[in-house]
């Protein structure tokens, strides 16, 4: 694992967000360092996806501050509010790349066109250069022949890997994953996790909202447990997941360890199944 530097790439401070009476984020502070993999875990409604969507301002917080590589993306405290033009917001936002639970590929574009779209129209990269980079990314994602296919012709796992390539094409500093495997059939989860693991090995800074506790345990430099709109606990995966710092965290992790315990006997069974005929 590549060592994490002390340089802060993304910093959120005092993030608050409400929908009507529903207070989904209640003052969240989080720093992500260069090369670090942070996994956000927590029950549904704990605010982890909302927090992730605030990080690239897909969702605008009510209060707080978001800074990416020293550039402010959002700042609002009391009545004071940082005014940024759409162009300024976009310039900071594209330091992040986002991968969505439901892939959100553009269905009217081929895989290759999906990947070159933003480099062409946002960064004004020449087409030949953008295409060459896109093919390289597709190869890196294990899909060298998918370029001319439309999203509807690809499996969920393939679509998600194209979506990762699309986000990488903008050469982001930090990747944001919103439950990247939750919409996938179980047998397709592995290929997407492998692609993310590959990115981590390459030293990409990542924030991953996930329900795959085992994956978080294996890959994360730091696991952040969110509960009721705040960071309830945070630390190295081993410390956090095994310590059970709070009863709610213990209950949350307990469901997964219980499942693992129940499945445990399967792991030691001999692999060869035996079939006996009725007679």
């Amino acid at each position: 694992m590549i060592a994490t530097s002390t340089e802060v790439v993304l910093s959120v401070r005092g993030i608050e967000k409400s929908y009507g009476k529903n207070h989904v984020l209640r003052g969240v502070d989080l720093d992500v360092h260069r090369g670090e993999v942070v996994c956000l875990i927590g029950a549904s409604g704990s605010g982890k996806t909302s927090l992730l969507r605030c990080m690239n301002l897909l969702m605008e917080p009510d209060q707080g501050e978001i800074v990416i590589e020293g550039a402010p993306l959002f700042r609002s405290a009391g009545d004071e509010r940082l005014k940024l033009s759409g162009r300024q917001v976009s310039a900071v936002r594209i330091k992040t790349g986002m991968v969505f639970q439901s892939f959100n590929l553009f269905p009217h574009r081929t895989a290759l066109e999906n990947i070159i779209e933003a480099p062409l129209v946002v960064k004004k990269v020449p087409r030949a250069e953008a295409e060459a980079r896109a093919l390289e990314l597709l190869t890196r994602m294990g899909l060298p022949d998918a370029g001319n296919k439309y999203p509807s012709q690809l499996s969920g796992g393939q679509q998600q890997r194209v979506a990762i390539a699309r986000a990488l094409a903008m050469q982001p500093t930090i990747m944001l994953f919103d439950e990247p495997t939750s919409a996938l059939d179980p047998e397709l989860v592995g290929e997407v996790l492998a692609a993310i693991r590959q990115l981590a090995a390459d030293g990409m800074t990542m924030v991953i909202v996930t329900h795959e506790i085992g994956f978080a345990y294996e890959l994360a430099d730091r696991v952040v447990f969110m509960d009721q709109g705040v960071v309830a606990a945070s630390g190295a995966p081993r410390d956090l997941l095994l310590s059970a710092a709070s009863p709610r965290l213990a209950a949350f992790v307990g469901r997964f360890t219980e499942q693992a315990r129940l499945l445990g006997p399967l792991a030691v069974q001999p692999a060869a199944p035996s079939f006996t005929s009725p007679n």
Binding site: N56, L58, G86, R87, S90, A91, R93, I94, T96, G97, M98, F100, S102, F103, N104, L105, F106, P107, H108, E117, A118, V121, V122, K123, A163, R166, A167, M170
Partner: protein, 217 residues
């Protein structure tokens, strides 16, 4: 009484003129309807309540008033309200065009809003601005979905031009009435007119269906 359509065909020039008038008004009012409809749809898609509200009012007004009432009102009442003179042609084009705009606006708005919000999220996350994502991501997908209802509305629009005859605009139906008035053969005349409309609109419906099939494939 014998059914003898030759009487109608003997006056084909009168009908041909009516057909031209019908097509002319269809094209004019569809163009106006689409142009205004697009503007009204855009108003409804803005985040600003006042603009959305005014778009909504426009749509509800023209969708809920009966077309015949609208035409009569535009021709007979509007000039008095505004103290202006407008001819029957202007009244007809305005009435039909505005009426169509209400329906076109709804088709365009619903088409854009039917596109999954994830598409907008993805485009924003990639740094695309409002016009870039409308032009390159949302509208290309929405337009494909809009074609069948837009075709349907255009077919309605052509049929609705027959109401212009109440303003004595010499469209196909008005000309038919004229032929019937001196030949005393309404049975033949109106049968032929009905057939002409069906023959004219069938290709449009067929085209729309073909497009839908292509979309489904």
């Amino acid at each position: 009484m014998k059914f003898d359509p030759s009487i109608v065909f003997a006056n084909w020039d009168i009908l041909a003129y009516g057909l031209l008038v019908t097509l002319k008004y269809t094209i004019y009012t569809c163009a106006i309807g689409l142009a205004i409809g697009l503007l009204v749809a855009l108003l409804q898609l803005t985040p600003w309540p006042l603009m959305r509200w005014s778009g909504r009012v426009w749509v509800e007004f023209f969708r809920n008033i009966p077309l015949l009432v609208l035409l009569m009102w535009t021709y007979y009442a509007l000039p008095i309200f505004l103290q202006i003179q407008i001819g029957k042609e202007t009244a007809g084009v305005l009435g039909l065009g505005f009426y169509a705009s209400g329906f076109y606006a709804e088709i365009l708005r619903a088409g854009v809003q039917s596109i999954d919000h994830g598409q907008t999220d993805a485009a924003i996350a990639l740094g695309m601005g409002y016009f870039q994502r409308m032009k390159r991501i949302i509208l290309p997908q929405a337009l494909r979905r809009m074609v069948p209802p837009l075709m349907g509305q255009t077919i309605m629009q052509l049929k609705n031009t027959t109401l212009l005859s109440v303003l004595t605009i010499p469209d196909l139906l008005y000309q038919a009435g004229y032929i019937a008035s001196f030949t005393y053969r309404p049975m033949e005349v109106y049968t032929v007119i009905g057939a002409v409309f069906i023959l004219m609109l069938f290709p449009l419906s067929a085209l729309s269906r073909r497009f839908e099939r292509k979309e489904a494939a």
